[in-house]
Symmetry: C2
Subunit: 397 residues, 2 copies
């Protein structure tokens, strides 16, 4: 019998009514002769509510304790889903990270899964039960509860699929992966399939359908991941390796935008200071994204970089050790705008075409970084819609 | 250095503001050269909210899963308190039942603590940390999360005090133990001290200041328990053994009332049915309290008993296997009214005095049970206030 790992996001379990809907969906699937493992996120806005609660106490809550707080969100939705399945006559059991020994390492709030003991899951599946697992969380070597970072439930689901040699299905509130966000560009096109690498770039750039680390994991173990709309017959998108793909003759596969970052520019640094600064930031586990540095003038360097908005206050306290206030510029009016496509590898002039389009439309590029298959620009938030419209039209997305 | 176990109830941690208040109180106490272990309940109405959520799904939610849901309440308040202490410069750490291996046995929702591994606590105390423990919960032999029943955090606190050889302090929203509920009888008198046995009778009869099992445990290991108002200098009540007591020359120490029960009367049962009925009820873990049975007429027996209101629907489904609807009377308009006092042991005629007072005031007794130091009557809810006033006056409480 096939094992299927299904993951339901926060919007799919945001009320007892919605939980009843997905329970019925799970039972229907189980009756088609499958063993089902369900990974759940926290209900709706629970995570945001918890962050607000913690911020009520202090701007820099203990990260160990924040993880304890966060981890309860998935325990709540897992137990409610198990109750629902049981009440519908479908035997089920919920397991938390502790019970499955989901071993993690790394910093609180951004831990990585090292291993999962799937014995209990297999035993429960043998007993005909639907197994419900709390996503997003694990336990580290000290026995402390850890979380995997925003969207980490996707990674929990893929990791379980790897360990159980199972199919992986991610159910969410969109019906698949689009070339760009359909809420922002009405002509966006849904993709039937997408290569890991492309999806990885899109995900890490703010296409918030999936947690980027979950794609890395899927790629590493070659697990096919299906992304689709919760409780729907609409066909979604398959994320798979290149060998299985009908390679499409497109330069750009998709566009992603993100408004969650802030840029910091520091003037008048010397080279050793730059090293020290980024080292200090790394120690705190703050993920720096776009970095741009000017050539030294009189041995003084200006450097710009972006970080997630929520880490600004922590980052500021580090930066203030290296720079006076007057040499510091913080810009929170930025949108990261990225074009992604495997086809870029073999096509010259994509960047210059983007520059030209932006210039013709008076869109100012504040920062730019590139990889083999990606171009990312930081632009003003106000220019976002215009940029999406122009680029989609020009590249026929 | 002395170890102090402090327990704060749900009303003391019902908001981040209140958590900040108790954090300051804890720090003040720690600075007086004590090692502090704090046991917390869930914030305010969290437990009720969870029950409502579960009942939204089904009237008889899986008890295993209900325990998972419930256990998150204390994890939330424990992590928030730890964050608060840390933000005030007081190093602290929260532990859940899993992390401390709080071993329990018995049914879900009413488990008993078998043992606690206090190594982690001792290590953290040695490091100068305030240790925060989630009350009310444990883990059973199957590795499932269990809860100890309403008010179980008191029992967690006393159990920790036993294992750590510590002082035990229960902080709540009343300033001590009263001869009767001061909200119901304005002349109620606060007791400076009370004997375990008396407190036990009062607690198990609905004086909701403390979980009755916590008193049993304190009595068994002779741990003195202090009960007082959260963040206040008002002196509360010491619960201790008879040897330390100034024995008071009173027949009745206190009165307790409870409106949480419902009485079930079944007519026309035969003797074997009565046995079977109570056996079936016991298997489901429903706690039957007052039982009254009439002498057989034509070998048929009538039997009345009370159970907690929340277990009525489960109990009904058992009763319906033994009785036709027309032979069944359910009465939810009852108040359990109890008089407790060690002095009753050596004083005759207390019951007859109670009967007389009730009769003179037209208070009908529906059911009655007695022990050596207690008399409990089930009366109409509407008669409760009158009964309290009359009995307090007559017995000079």
């Amino acid at each position: 019998m096939n094992i299927v790992v299904q993951k339901y996001g926060g919007s799919s379990v945001s009320s007892t009514e919605k939980i009843k809907l997905i329970a019925k969906n799970i039972i229907k699937r189980k009756n088609k002769n499958s063993k089902i493992v369900v990974v759940v996120s926290a209900m709706g806005d629970t995570t945001d509510d918890y962050i607000k609660l913690a911020k009520d106490i202090t701007d820099t809550p203990s990260k160990r304790e924040l993880d304890v707080l966060m981890s309860t969100g998935e325990m709540i939705s897992a137990s409610l889903l198990a109750m629902t399945l049981d009440s519908l006559g479908c035997s089920s059991i919920s397991y938390s990270a502790y019970q499955l020994d989901i071993q993690t390492s790394g910093l609180h709030g951004k831990s990585h899964i090292d291993d999962i003991n799937v014995e209990k899951i297999q035993r429960s599946l043998e007993q005909g039960k639907v197994v419900i697992v709390t996503g997003f969380q694990g336990v580290n070597d000290d026995g402390d509860i850890t979380t995997l970072g925003r969207g980490g439930s996707d990674t929990s689901a893929v990791a379980l699929a790897v360990k159980l040699n199972a199919r992986c299905e991610i159910y969410t509130d969109v019906d698949g992966i689009y070339s760009t966000d359909p809420r922002k560009y009405k002509y966006a096109r849904k993709l039937n399939e997408i290569e890991y690498e492309e999806m990885l770039e899109l995900a890490s750039l703010g296409a918030q359908v999936m947690h980027s680390r979950s794609i890395e994991l899927a790629q590493k173990y070659d697990v096919e991941v299906y992304v689709g709309l919760t409780c729907s017959n609409i066909v979604g998108t398959y994320i798979r390796g290149g060998n299985n793909m009908k390679l499409e003759d497109k330069i750009i596969t998709g566009i992603a935008t993100s408004d969650d970052d802030v840029s910091i520019t520091i003037k008048e640094l010397c080279e050793t200071q730059v090293c020290g600064l980024f080292e200090d930031i790394a120690i705190k586990g703050i993920s720096v994204d776009m970095i741009s540095q000017t050539a030294p003038i009189n041995k003084r360097i200006s450097v710009s970089f972006t970080i997630p908005k929520e880490e600004l206050s922590e980052c500021k306290s580090i930066v203030s050790r290296y720079s006076k206030d007057e040499d510091l510029v913080i810009d929170d009016n930025i949108t990261k705008f990225s074009l992604v496509g495997l086809g870029m590898k073999n096509t010259a002039g994509v960047a210059s075409k983007v520059f030209k389009i932006f210039k013709e439309n008076n869109i100012k590029i504040k920062l730019i970084t590139t990889s083999e298959i990606r171009i990312t620009c930081a632009i003003s938030y106000d220019d976002k819609q215009e940029a999406i419209n122009r680029i989609c039209k020009e590249f026929n997305l």
